[in-house]
């Protein structure tokens, strides 16, 4: 094989250290997985049925590059009704293939070679690579458990350089479930304004918050002019496989993103877009039902983990907790490997979300209650064994 066939830029992307662990999980039967990053609910039937109906009607064509006007209009009305946000359906909204594509487009649309994007860690795995592929430089700012896994204005300020182009925020956050209050966001926003940053705000979990009012970034004073707001249908409506996301932002940026989108993706699937229309039209109750279920599970998982000595911050949203495994003395990969091998429970090693998080694992509670209960039972035995072994080894020394 000719080594020059693959572009340097791609070769240089850091390989995922936990790929082998993922393969292990996928190759094993009867695993209770707390490692899944998508809802355990199936898309509500009303929405699925609309997808089927659109196929029956023969709606199988391309749509306009920006996406079905009907869907953009519905999104515009939804945001206006829910948050009082005013986005023009024609010029300020773009339908994408999931938020993943929207993020890629946003980054490519704003970055010149060598410009920097500030990314608070722990963060979703694609953020760094997407920025690198766009010719930018990801500047990771690790947050700590003591600070609630939130970036504060000081950290942001000191990460800013002449080359800083933007800030990539994600709240509620995958993997921590942590979100920001309005006050905290305002403090961050003052720094963004001062340094003239573009804010890319990934709010895919925004509809799934528990006793925590979600404040979309563009609602902050003046922020709409430099914010690219990203959201989609995957998490709240349990529509991950349909791949529908959207970006809202200033006309010039959305138009730049549309340019890339039209040459690379052309448009999102029409069937999925029609289903998304139905989701906005009638999905409110389903979202509320799922959210209520997640909330119950969150309460259960949060208190269970803390009881087991795996301390975690109570999440504000999404469906993850990020417990510390420090007292086990294991690395996150060792912890995950052993939990899998000895008790057939899968979690995602924290190191996947940033080098500094080898003392943590990500636990998803997008799994039904009886499975969660069984998982907690097994983790309890696992923890007892580990701590016993640790004590034994300590005494030996």
């Amino acid at each position: 094989m000719n080594d020059n066939f693959v572009a340097k830029k791609v070769k240089n992307l850091a390989p995922s250290g936990i790929r082998a662990f993922f393969e292990l999980v996928l190759g094993m039967d009867d695993v209770i997985s707390l490692g899944v990053g998508e809802p355990d609910f199936i898309t509500p039937w009303r929405i699925r049925e609309t997808g089927i109906f659109s196929l029956e009607q023969g709606l199988t064509s391309y749509t306009s590059n920006k996406g079905l006007y009907k869907l953009r209009l519905q999104i515009s009305k939804f945001l206006s009704r829910k948050f009082g946000l005013d986005y023009c359906a024609d010029q300020e909204i773009l339908i994408t293939v999931g938020v993943s594509e929207a993020l890629d487009l946003a980054v490519r649309a704003i970055l010149n070679q060598g410009e920097e994007i500030i990314i608070p860690q722990p963060c979703y795995v694609s953020y760094g690579p997407v920025v690198e592929l766009a010719g930018g430089v990801p500047i990771f700012v690790p947050t700590t458990e003591e600070n609630g896994f939130k970036i504060n204005p000081k950290q942001l300020e000191s990460a800013c350089t002449k080359k800083t182009k933007g800030l990539l925020l994600n709240y509620p956050c995958n993997p921590t479930g942590v979100s920001y209050t309005k006050k905290e966001l305002e403090a961050i926003n003052r720094v963004c304004k001062k340094h003239n940053l573009v804010v890319i705000s990934d709010e895919i979990y925004g509809d799934l918050t528990y006793n925590h009012p979600h404040i979309p970034y563009p609602m902050l004073k003046g922020a709409k002019e430099y914010t690219i707001y990203l959201n989609g249908f995957s998490k709240a409506y349990a529509m991950t496989g349909w791949r529908i996301g959207y970006a809202c932002g200033p006309e010039n940026i959305i138009s730049a993103m549309t340019k890339i989108h039209q040459y690379t993706m052309l448009c999102a699937s029409i069937i999925s877009q029609i289903a998304a229309c139905e989701a906005l039209h009638s999905g409110k109750r389903d979202v509320a039902r799922m959210k209520q279920e997640y909330n119950l599970r969150k309460n259960f998982i949060f208190s269970s983990f803390n009881e087991l000595g795996l301390k975690c911050i109570e999440p504000h949203g999404a469906f993850y907790v990020f417990p510390s495994i420090e007292q086990t003395g294991l690395s996150s990969l060792e912890f995950a490997n052993r939990l899998l091998a000895e008790h057939k429970v899968a979690v995602v090693p924290g190191v996947a979300f940033g080098q500094d998080y080898d003392n943590y694992v990500r636990v998803s509670y997008a799994t039904n209650y009886s499975q969660l209960k069984e998982a907690i039972k097994r983790i309890k035995i696992f923890m007892r064994d580990i701590l016993k072994r640790n004590r034994f080894e300590y005494n030996k020394k």
């Binding site: 094993m28 899944v36 355990d40 694609s126 119950l296 599970r297 309460n299 259960f300 208190s303």
Partner: protein, 161 residues
């Protein structure tokens, strides 16, 4: 509806401690509430949902929906007539409905013959019953919000970001 009731409606075997964890409430308070619900007749009992389609036994029962037309009489409301009917143990459900008939019954018996006998001997001869239409149940697809099928496997990939 109280969240406790919602949880118990889905899982009657759940323990008080578990409900406490799920709802972040004090378990003593929950216990008190449940006792009150039982006393007030809000919680009437604890049952198990069984997919009888899959149970192999000789006692498999036949069910029928029966529409009952009633002749209203002075001083005797529907309640009085309904009570005379729902007290038969064959009647598992009894509803007063709007439309072309008045009462909708669900009747259970060990075979079609038993149900026919019940209708012919008990129900139809009643003074206030003007007529009945019987629908025997052939197959159950969904009951009380539960689709009667084997649980489907999780179709997601087992681990993802």
């Amino acid at each position: 509806m109280d969240q406790i009731l919602e949880i118990m409606e889905n899982d009657s075997r759940i323990t008080v401690e578990e409900i406490a964890k799920l709802t972040k409430q004090d378990s003593k308070a929950i216990k008190r509430k449940i006792t009150k619900y039982e006393k007030d007749g809000i919680i009437l009992g604890y049952k198990t949902v069984i997919n009888k389609e899959l149970v192999q036994d000789e006692e498999k029962k036949v069910r029928a929906l029966i529409e009952v037309n009633i002749l209203p009489q002075k001083n005797l409301g529907f309640d009085y007539i309904a009570a005379r009917i729902y007290k038969f143990e064959e009647v598992t459900n009894c509803y007063l409905v709007s439309g072309t008939y008045d009462l909708l019954l669900i009747v259970e018996g060990k075979d079609m013959q038993t149900i026919s006998n019940f209708i012919a001997e008990k129900l139809s001869p009643m003074e206030n019953v003007r007529g009945t239409v019987t629908h025997f149940l052939l197959k159950k697809y969904k009951e009380y919000g539960i689709i009667l099928k084997h649980k489907e496997d999780d179709k997601r990939i087992a681990i993802s970001y």
